[in-house]
Symmetry: C2
């Protein structure tokens, strides 16, 4: 049976990654042991960690100031870990609030210091990316979300600012070329473009650390994780292994440049169908549309249920929009093949013609 | 090839669990999707979470005051999360320092309030369990480690106290019968008796929560995790699935009572061999010896290397002692079959007779 997986996360992974991980669960590297049964301080696992870090460095083209960490938890953990490490109680951090996840990040940061929301798209339900804003020169950092999974918006440029720039890239990490060295800190839950749920990629410029006056709990302290090569405690071994396999696959696909080309093609194909078919309608400002999460609605809301039924029948998963915005959402992460998008747009056309 | 896995953690898991997890990685429940590719808010995963919680409740025989959570991270995360939720800045928590992990827990708690170490076994390198101590009646809680993975000691009784009792059970959870309801809070990294690295089991009496005056970051707040059924954010889906499978297996083995019988047999067999063979020597006070991690040395340290060589040749993994204590450590977690202990004691005997 052919299935098409448009889930927003956890989401589709490359077939070969899943097959290798499946094999490693019963016999890792011909050790006779499962990947779940090996000590994290053995060369068997150290090799995995080293390769994961080195692939991330290579694919993101990182300079020597930037460290790569694989940490427990998801982006929600980072909402607290970032200000814990970087925002003194008396200082102010600038946040851009352009979606549900950005708003959550603001809420956590307020527990650690002052927050100034320098730009927001709340006035139009976060259906666009704020363009004009200024950041106080003495802000501890500027935080934003590069891609909004729920609302379907995405930044096409990197915000200009002189303060350290921090980005939650959970839902578009490694999907397109960027100057990753421009960022003081990047974090991303792995479960969209980088592997399984339960691990965070954190890329941090080590020069920004060690400047807050509070004492940081060991497990929250980026510096200690750097010193310990992400092995302060037992790391999420399997999730890191799956990330390593996913990064290997990405390199084989031509790296970030290679996947970006395919991602552009997938997104164009789908947006073009939405524009062409009167039955469907995009909700997001044209210049701010996400290439990862395509959010749209039916021109006539009454047909939404029928269309979702048809999708289900055709084994197309994850098409229902997030409960906060309704309508449809189709996620086109790195591992989703172009053929799935073609199948989906064909279904849209077929449904449109039969419905009229 | 037969391998014997005495790793201290991550460690051996039941073969059938690994086989089921391996299958689920390529086709979960005949969905055509991998367990890594399904949304955590789908019925597919909700069923896993529900079954994991319900099995934990049943196997631990929990009352209605106790909630079961599966949270990101390992025990090291709990070292901070416990005082964050339960220790006010002006209050004092009592800690028993009887091993490396207990000491680390003390260090983190000091960042949140006062800590009184009410008992310590530091004077004899933590080779025994402190017996006589008293806990201040107004302590916020008493924290201890039920089993010390590194030093090979284990509590045979539950400390008597009137203050809320908190235990790190990472390395002996569900290995023996206990009145789990006696505890205000229990936590355990899953990677020893309960599954894969990357998830914590937390059992908490909800009546103790909500009493500190500080504001708790969302991801740290047990109450919010309870309200959200451990799905405040994307949970470590795969690690929770493996825990559910491991709990299913444990139930089939006769539950905690059933596994305790086998665990007792395994530990007796090994300690008996250590006592009988002059070549080997236990380090831990007899009444405090762990049934999970058997720590011992060679009477003549010169032969240690040779013995480890022989173990390696026979595919016996994880016999080398922790770097802090040296010698040997053989871990006998729930999933380790009696046959592995028999093979190991036979090797000890054979080595002893050939060496003399």
């Amino acid at each position: 049976m052919t299935v098409h997986n448009f889930n927003a996360g956890p989401s589709i992974l490359p077939k070969e990654v899943l097959e290798q991980a499946s094999e490693a669960l019963v016999n890792f590297n011909n050790s006779g042991l499962s990947i779940l049964e090996i000590g994290h301080r053995t060369p068997l696992f150290q090799n995995i960690m080293d390769e994961a870090v080195s692939l991330a460095r290579e694919l993101m083209n990182l300079d020597s100031h930037h460290e790569v960490l694989f940490l427990h938890g998801g982006a929600t953990t980072q909402f607290m870990q970032v200000p814990y490490n970087l925002l003194d109680e008396t200082k102010t951090a600038a946040y851009i609030d352009n979606g549900v996840w950005g708003s959550k990040a603001v809420k956590e940061a307020r527990l650690f210091g002052n927050v100034e929301v320098v730009a927001s798209s709340k006035d139009k339900d976060h259906t666009y990316i704020p363009k004009d804003f200024s950041v106080p020169a003495d802000a501890a950092y500027l935080h934003y979300t590069t891609n909004n999974t729920i609302e379907g918006t995405q930044w096409n440029t990197i915000p200009e600012t002189d303060v350290p720039l921090i980005a939650d890239m959970s839902s578009d990490i490694l999907s397109r070329q960027m100057n990753f060295n421009r960022f003081a800190l990047i974090y991303a839950g792995a479960q969209k473009n980088m592997g399984a749920a339960g691990v965070n990629l954190v890329v941090v410029n080590k020069n920004i650390l060690g400047k807050v006056s509070r004492k940081i709990p060991t497990i929250m302290d980026y510096r200690i994780h750097i010193e310990n090569g992400s092995m302060l405690n037992t790391p999420p071994v399997f999730a890191i292994y799956v990330s390593m396999l996913t990064l290997r696959w990405l390199k084989k696909m031509g790296g970030v440049a290679g996947i970006e080309k395919i991602n552009n093609e997938k997104a164009s194909l789908l947006y073009e169908a939405i524009e062409r078919l009167p039955m469907f309608k995009a909700k997001v400002a044209e210049e701010d549309r996400s290439k990862m999460n395509i959010v749209f609605v039916a021109a006539n809301p009454d047909i939404e249920k029928d269309f979702l039924e048809v999708c289900k029948k055709e084994n197309m998963y994850g098409v229902k929009g997030h409960r906060l915005v309704g309508g449809f959402r189709v996620s086109l992460y790195n591992a989703l093949p172009l053929s799935s998008v073609k199948a989906f747009t064909a279904l849209m056309e077929d449904f449109s013609s039969r419905y009229n």
